[in-house]
């Protein structure tokens, strides 16, 4: 049994390496406008994977993602003022994750006693507080923000490869977490908190674990946001940012990682087509939210994964 697992791991690794190479070659061939689209898609996917862990897996409805994205973006932004290399990026990202975890913990302790919609509003409040704090600090450049966050020695293609690898690692992290006893404990909180508690699960602990991992991924997404836009300001991290990420999770399916990837690409492509019509884009976002909720409340993929189709086939053959 152990052997078949390690063989599976090596195959998976090979597929990953090959797909990274293929994706980066393809990236080099497409026009710059679409390169930008795919970088944006990657950024969305990283953030949305984190939110999906919080909403889809642990069942806690957080509207605070924008705050964590902001922390990641500003950590890298501040380090980049003196060191805009890949090392500066790594340091900034690590710093962002540490600060995010600390803040997320402060948020989690009081708010995780709340349920459902109340939690959503409380996290929204926290996220706005983070934004207001950033707006009133000197080190973050106040309301005018930080500029010239260009990456030294890394071009768009380099950044794309980094982001694709980040996504793969994030998916691996989430899958390994969810398919462990700790992950099952987290899912049980989503299914029935009272029953989970009665089965010996420390529900607060697992809600917090999922929230910290999810928030950290938001910080990582934020880390890429600065170099992607060359400029960050507090206004970039308003409530709307949380909704952007939420749209992807809802569209793809709460609990489905492949859904999130597809949703992220779809939204980024839609944004590119509607670049010059931002109101129409927002109206479409709105319609997507309403229609998906009415017609397919669990999202396009539900909580299924693309790999499930393949799994079903092999099961049938047994």
């Amino acid at each position: 049994m152990k052997q078949s697992f390690s063989r599976k791991n090596i195959t998976a690794l090979l597929i990953l390496v090959v797909s990274v190479i293929l994706l980066s070659v393809m990236f080099g061939l497409i026009p710059p406008k679409w390169q930008k689209t795919f970088i944006t898609a990657c950024y969305y996917i990283i953030g949305a994977l984190g939110l999906n862990l919080i909403i889809g897996v642990s069942g806690q409805f957080s509207l605070g993602h924008a705050g964590f994205i902001a922390i990641g973006a500003y950590s890298v932004g501040i380090i980049f003022q003196s060191n805009a290399t890949i090392y500066g990026f790594a340091l900034g990202t690590a710093l962002g994750i540490v600060i995010t975890c600390a803040v997320a913990l402060i948020i989690a302790i009081p708010t995780f006693r709340l349920r459902g919609d109340y939690l959503a509003i409380a996290t929204l409040g926290f996220s706005e507080i983070i934004r207001i704090v950033i707006q009133n600090l000197d080190i973050t450049g106040g309301a005018s923000g930080l500029s010239y966050l260009s990456f030294e020695g890394i071009n768009d293609q380099g950044m794309f490869i980094m982001m694709v690898i980040t996504i793969m690692l994030a998916i691996l992290l989430i899958v390994n977490y969810v398919k462990s006893s700790h992950g099952r404990a987290t899912v049980s909180v989503r299914e029935d908190e009272i029953a989970a508690e009665a089965m010996g699960i420390n529900t607060t602990k697992y809600k917090t674990v999922a929230f910290l991992i999810g928030a950290s991924l938001a910080a990582v997404a934020g880390a890429y946001f600065g170099p992607m836009n060359f400029f960050i300001k507090p206004g970039d991290f308003g409530f709307t940012k949380s909704i952007d990420v939420l749209v992807i999770v809802v569209l793809g399916g709460m609990g489905s990682l492949s859904g999130t990837v597809v949703g992220g690409i779809f939204i980024a492509v839609m944004n590119t087509f509607l670049q010059d019509y931002s109101e129409i884009r927002m109206i479409l976002y709105a319609l997507i939210l309403v229609l998906v909720m009415i017609l397919r409340p669990r999202g396009l993929f539900g909580n299924k994964e693309i790999t499930d189709i393949w799994k079903k086939k092999t099961k049938g053959a047994e």
Partner: protein
């Protein structure tokens, strides 16, 4: 002391607008357990109706009353329509599903307005001259007084409707137990529809009043006040009508004091902080009773 009273007067005036909006949140939450995220945008629509009415139909005191009636009627219709189209299919869905839908509706209203009228701020033509009164060293404006008086009248009217009419009785019955109410022959769908109409009418009136106060309307003006009105509803105890009135006035006063005595840059952060404290310490609100899920 003078500054204190002056701030209190300003706080009560803005607070009465919050209270009107908070009433809609609280009634809808009370009856279908939905945080109607789009409620702040109904208030924005009310402000726009007021703006157009002052500009193209009539000014003066008569014009003000007309704008109020048009905004309340228009918003009531829109509120009912939204409920029919977006929320009714989700009656039995989870609260989160309904909340996400409400956010979608909110976005929809905001950006449809941006699409048709542009995102820029518009200055409102005041329907009458905003005379300034002095009592001692404290300053009142005519609009402040009209806002407070209108709010009081509307609240009395609402209290009458909820407590003394058949429809009000039905509302209270449905919010206590929709299934039992249905068995008693109450038309639950009509009652919910009526609740949306009532809440939206109040938000529409609040929109016209805020137009008098700030003289500015824009499509995204409903987001932050909407959120604050929701906070007000939670503060007083969501689902409780006097709670929303009390919460609205409190949030208005707290915000004005925070801005006056601490810093206007931090006033919103203070209001959000307050929300979190209330949710954590007494989630049922100051006037509410705590309930626990039955096991």
């Amino acid at each position: 002391m003078v500054q204190f009273i002056q701030q209190l007067v300003n706080g009560l005036s803005i607070g009465s607008v919050f209270a009107l909006v908070a009433l809609g949140y609280t009634m809808v939450y009370g009856i279908i357990k939905l945080i109607n995220f789009a409620h702040g945008d109904i208030y924005m629509l009310g402000a726009f109706i007021g703006y157009f009415s002052f500009k193209y139909i009539a000014g003066g005191y008569g014009g003000f009353i007309l704008a109020l009636v048009l905004a309340m009627g228009g918003c009531a219709l829109i509120g009912m329509l939204i409920e029919k189209v977006a929320y009714k299919p989700l009656r039995n869905a989870s609260r989160i599903t309904a909340l996400i839908t409400a956010m979608g509706v909110s976005y929809f209203l905001e950006y449809v307005m941006v699409y048709f009228f542009g995102a820029e701020r518009r200055t409102l033509t005041a329907p009458f001259e905003n005379t300034v009164f002095h009592i001692g060293e404290i300053t009142f404006t005519l609009s402040t007084m009209i806002i407070v008086v209108t709010t009081i009248i509307l609240m009395l009217l609402l209290t009458y409707i909820v407590n003394c009419t058949k429809m009000g009785k039905a509302m209270r019955a449905v919010s206590t137990d929709p299934d039992a109410a249905r068995l008693m022959g109450i038309n639950v769908d009509h009652t919910i529809s009526f609740t949306f109409a009532l809440g939206s009418a109040l938000a529409g009136a609040a929109g016209v009043l805020i137009g008098l106060h700030y003289n500015i309307v824009e499509p995204l003006m409903g987001m932050i006040p909407g959120l604050k009105a929701f906070i007000a509803a939670v503060f007083g105890g969501i689902g409780i009508i006097p709670g929303a009135m009390f919460g609205g006035l409190s949030i208005g006063v707290i915000q004005t004091f925070a801005s006056g005595y601490i810093s206007s840059l931090w006033q919103d952060a203070i209001v959000y902080g307050l929300l979190i404290i209330i949710l954590v310490v007494k989630p049922a609100g100051l006037l509410g009773k705590n309930k626990k899920e039955k096991v």
